[in-house]
């Protein structure tokens, strides 16, 4: 456990050590090297816990206010530590290549390099801390440091706007978490999670209340609809590797919170289980629906993160229903699928964000309508991105399939619960997940083909000459190997995931022979498939040697078609959008050609988030009206501010006298 704390402190220090150097490239090198050491230091105890199955515990003595604070690494924490350490370090290594153009422009990166490892350290502290107050402190450090990372390009107005929105949402979220913890701690008389567990397991109503509050709070961090709104704003604003860390790792701390509270509550009520499953389904469908409409590469990925959080949530919801109906196999499979999807999503989403970053570095645009044909200039990035795209659609033989299969399998087993509501819910959830899967295919076939295939749609895409640098490709390659490895060896991963699951369920004392044997079948199947495809491709190369004739694309006899006749991202999804018209708010910006010799004309289509347009905006408007009534208080002279302060103190004293 000591090496864990040393690791966290090393993370914290790495940014400050880097300040001692003057050369900016050296600074980044220092941060990545020290972080690498730190991540190894934190990984050792985590792997130790997963292998031995014995929890590590350490009590730190803080000042009288906090008292003794327990830090515990149990398998659930260990799982998250592995996700955080491995995935974050990939982002840190990648940052060197990404920041290069910024360094050349002379941008100050000192603060950025301090906050980047600080974010990682705070996440590592969050997933081990067992004291509610300390947890909230670390949580807050995490939110704030990521806020500073988001506003890296703070000279841009929209970045600041996105950052503020992120900050507001994070504080809404922490408000709910504070209330949940406060209720639990008042009724248990302590700040320690283990005492919470005792009280929550003996008082059903209290447990429900705390879980719902915590679900809203942590769910906001994770990005569950309707509290998802910060995600599609904050991710595009941040540098790509920061979005990769945020989307791949940081939002998962929200899931961690939900799972942790669930392990304290132990047995959720049936109603709450249905609630979680429903919210998760809505989240998944909503996320992918809007991912389809996006033309901004990173916004698309952000919405797809919402979708995947939904899939994780479906897994958790299925697990909770299994718990509520006392059907252990359903809960094991549901939680195992959900938890494995946390790992899987962090891998492929990180890879996707990193490839989006590589594209952005080369083309300086995130608008996929002006990209195209990049597979020819950036072949390695393109292939890595293709692997991630296939994986995120949940297609075999990659990792996304394994976790989605476990969730599905849990739902199929759930069909045997002889209960009307349970059966109908599971059937709809199965077809809902299928709907999400097919829409993901639509979304990522669009994303990949418009970005990388066909002809360049603009000069920026045409002018890309070379692939990204090695320091960017290596972490991406490692991620791609992880994607394939999990897809090919699901049986080991399944057993690995069962340990964190056992923290939520207590002990797993049922036979898992069937899922294990299916995992083995999938493994053989995947190997067979990969082998067969390789064989076929080899055979095809052999058979068609020298028989290939290059020509133009068929254009009905015209062979002077240019890049502007290609299908665009918006036209690609337009049949789909026209089918689901009422779900979107389309904003057209049209300037029609006028007169005989039209000088200019343009057309653009932009699709607004329906929640943003119909819920958030009106609330903000009414807020503005309400808050404007208090404008008079801000007089600008110090005397009156001192007066407010005194008034407040007097009120507090009177209040405490009255209560005391």
């Amino acid at each position: 456990m000591n090496s864990y704390f040393i690791g966290i402190i090393t993370f914290l220090l790495s940014g400050f050590v880097a300040l001692l150097f003057s050369n900016k490239n050296v600074k980044i090198m220092v941060v990545s090297l020290i972080s690498m050491i730190a991540s190894v230091l934190t990984l050792i105890p985590a792997i130790n816990v997963l292998v031995s199955g014995q929890n590590l515990l350490q009590t730190l003595k803080f000042n009288p206010l906090l008292g003794d604070v327990n830090f515990v690494i149990d398998p659930l924490s260990a799982f998250f530590i592995i996700v955080i350490s491995v995935m974050s370090i990939m982002g840190v290594i990648y940052s060197k290549g990404y920041l290069k153009p910024y360094i050349q422009k002379g941008k100050n990166i000192n603060a950025h390099l301090v906050f980047l490892p600080m974010l990682i350290a705070s996440m590592l502290a969050v997933v081990t801390c067992q004291n509610a107050l300390m947890f909230l402190i670390c949580w807050e450090i995490m939110s704030l440091s990521s806020f500073f990372l988001v506003i890296f390009e703070h000279e841009k107005k929209e970045v600041i706007k996105a950052g503020i929105k992120y900050l507001v949402f994070m504080h809404l979220s922490v408000l709910f978490i504070i209330i949940a913890f406060a209720i639990a701690s008042i009724s248990s008389g302590s700040l320690d999670f283990s005492t919470f567990a005792y009280v929550l397991q003996h008082n059903k109503h209290l447990a429900n209340l705390v879980f719902i509050l915590a679900f809203i709070g942590f769910g906001t961090k994770a990005g569950f609809v309707p509290m998802h709104n910060w995600l599609p704003e904050a991710h595009p604003a941040a540098p790509s590797y920061v979005s990769a860390i945020m989307s791949g790792v940081m939002i998962k701390t929200g899931i961690y919170g939900i799972l942790r509270v669930l392990s304290l509550v132990h047995k959720p009520s049936i109603f709450i289980s249905y609630f979680v499953l429903t919210i998760a389904l809505i989240t998944a469908i909503y996320g992918v629906l809007y991912a389809i409409t996006q033309q901004d590469l990173k916004k698309l990925l952000a919405y797809s993160s919402i979708e995947n959080i939904g899939i994780i949530g479906i897994g958790i919801g299925v697990g909770m229903l299994g718990l509520a109906y006392n059907h252990p196999i359903v809960s094991v499979l549901g939680f195992a699928g959900g938890i494995l999807h946390i790992l899987n999503h962090s891998i492929f989403k990180e890879l996707l964000f990193l490839s989006a970053g590589s594209v952005y570095v080369k083309t300086h645009t995130r608008n996929i309508e002006s990209l195209g044909g990049l597979i020819k200039s950036m072949p390695k990035t393109a292939i890595l991105c293709l692997i991630a795209s296939v994986a995120i659609c949940g297609l075999p033989p990659f990792n996304g399939f394994i976790s989605e299969f476990l969730v599905y399998f849990g739902m199929f087993n759930g069909l045997s619960i002889h209960n009307f509501f349970a059966m109908v819910t599971f059937l709809f959830a199965i077809s809902g997940l299928a709907l999400v899967g097919t829409m993901a295919i639509l979304c990522f076939s669009k994303m990949f083909s418009i970005t990388f295939l066909g002809l360049p749609r603009s000069e920026v895409a045409e002018n890309v000459k070379d692939d990204s640098s090695k320091s960017m490709l290596i972490p991406m390659g490692i991620l791609a190997i992880l994607i394939l490895a999990i897809g090919l060896f699901p049986q080991f991963v399944f057993e690995f995931v069962l340990k964190p699951v056992s923290i939520i369920l207590g002990n797993i004392n049922i036979s898992l022979a069937e899922p294990v044997s299916i995992m083995q079948t999938i493994s053989h199947y995947a190997f067979g498939f990969v082998g067969f495809v390789a064989l076929m491709i080899g055979l095809k190369l052999f058979l068609t040697k020298g028989k290939i004739d290059l020509h133009e694309t068929w254009g009905c006899g015209y062979d002077r078609g240019n890049n502007h006749v290609q299908y665009t991202a918006s036209s690609y999804v337009s049949p789909f959008l026209s089918m689901l018209k009422p779900l979107f708010k389309k904003v057209f910006d049209i300037e029609k050609p006028r007169k005989l010799f039209p000088k200019s004309a343009h057309f653009s289509l932009h699709i607004d988030d329906i929640e943003e347009a119909y819920v958030i905006e009106p609330i903000l408007k009414s807020d503005e009206w309400f808050l404007s009534k208090f404008e008079g208080l801000q007089s600008g002279n110090i005397q009156s501010y001192i007066k407010y302060g005194l008034l407040f103190l007097v009120l507090v004293i009177i209040g405490s006298l009255l209560i005391g």
Binding site: I375, K376, P379, A382, L386, V390, C393, G394, L395, P396, F401, F405, Y408, F409, F412, L415, S416, F420, M423, L427, I430, S431, A434, L435, G437, T438, I441, L442, S445, K446, S449, I450, L453, G454, I518, Y525, G528, F529, V533, M536, I537, K540, T544, K547, D549, H551, E552, T553, W554, G555, C556, G561, Q566, Y567, S571, Y572, P575, F576, S578, M579
Partner: protein, 305 residues
């Protein structure tokens, strides 16, 4: 053993004959003689010998996509019970592996079409991708409810339906067959969803996606597509054929169902025109509503009186 071998033979060659039968039926209704039912097989062999013409715009994705698509459909076939006996890999929730492997093939074929940079192919691709989003959920809900009824989560549950569920079983089989038949029309791109015989690129869906493929690639795409048709028809056959029969009788019955499906497709193609593109969605949505009917029938059977 010999039956397993026969299953593989049927899987690989019956699709050609089904295609030939569809053409034969169409020529019959048009009052012509038409080519032999083996013509698609001859076409296939002829394509294998041809040289390739490949667009300069394309990349490696275009080259590997036909192979991956074909392999995916072939591997998906392992999860479907064919002429006799259970599927080669008979596991619970095999439906998921089956459907997702098929989707992998579809994903690659979408990418390969987009790789050519042609606007026609973009058009076909976007339609195809869009149709799938309606087909798949309806398919899942239908099969999953049938599985829920029998309590067996392999494809074997399809063959138990008729014998176990009485009158409800007949009704469910009827509706589920219609759902699967519409799925064939969509997935194998037949009239009224898509017209494979049209010569106007604007109105094609599947055909336009393989516009730039030639030689071996084209052969693999069309073979894979007809295998997909056979697989979905096999699901219908599984529901209709009772399990208690001897192996040769069931194989004969299976082949009969395949022939009937082909004749039905051919007759529909002769009898009606392709639906207007904007109305195709409404046609495919029939699947979803029928799937809900199946769901409610099964709920009624399990929980009603």
């Amino acid at each position: 053993m010999i039956v397993k071998f026969l299953n593989i033979i049927i899987l690989l060659f019956m699709p050609f004959i089904m295609m030939g039968l569809i053409k034969k039926t169409k020529t019959f209704w048009a009052g012509k003689k038409g080519p032999s039912v083996f013509q698609p097989l001859y076409d296939f062999i002829r394509l294998l010998k041809k040289e390739f013409v490949i667009s300069k715009t394309t990349s490696v994705v275009f080259r590997i996509a036909p192979v991956i698509n074909f392999s995916a459909i072939l591997f998906a076939a392992m999860f479907v019970p064919l002429a006799y006996g259970s599927a080669l890999i008979n596991v619970s929730a095999g439906l998921i592996i089956f459907a997702y492997t098929l989707s992998l093939g579809k994903f690659m074929s979408l990418l390969s079409a987009m790789d050519t940079g042609s606007s026609f192919e973009g058009m076909g691709t976007s339609r195809e991708a869009c149709f799938t989003t309606i087909v798949e959920p309806a398919f899942f809900i239908t099969i999953a409810s049938i599985m829920a009824l029998s309590g067996n989560y392999t494809f074997d549950s399809l063959s138990m339906l008729l014998s176990n569920a009485g009158t409800y079983g007949v009704l469910i089989t009827l509706f589920a067959s219609v759902i699967l038949f519409i799925m064939i029309l969509v997935e194998a791109s037949r009239v009224p969803v898509d017209d494979p015989a049209t010569h106007l690129e604007l109105t094609m869906i599947h055909e336009v996606m393989i516009l730039d493929n030639s030689g071996l690639d084209l052969a693999l795409f069309s073979w894979a597509n007809s295998i997909k048709m056979l697989l979905i028809s096999s699901l219908i056959a599984n529901m209709l054929i009772p399990t208690s029969l001897s192996e040769w009788v069931s194989i004969l019955l299976y082949l009969l169902v395949m022939v009937l499906v082909s004749l039905l497709i051919g007759t529909i193609e002769s009898g009606m025109a392709r639906i207007r593109m904007s109305h195709v969605f409404e046609f495919i949505f029939i699947m979803s509503s029928l799937a809900l009917v199946v769901l409610s029938l099964i709920v009624a059977r399990m929980f009603g009186g």
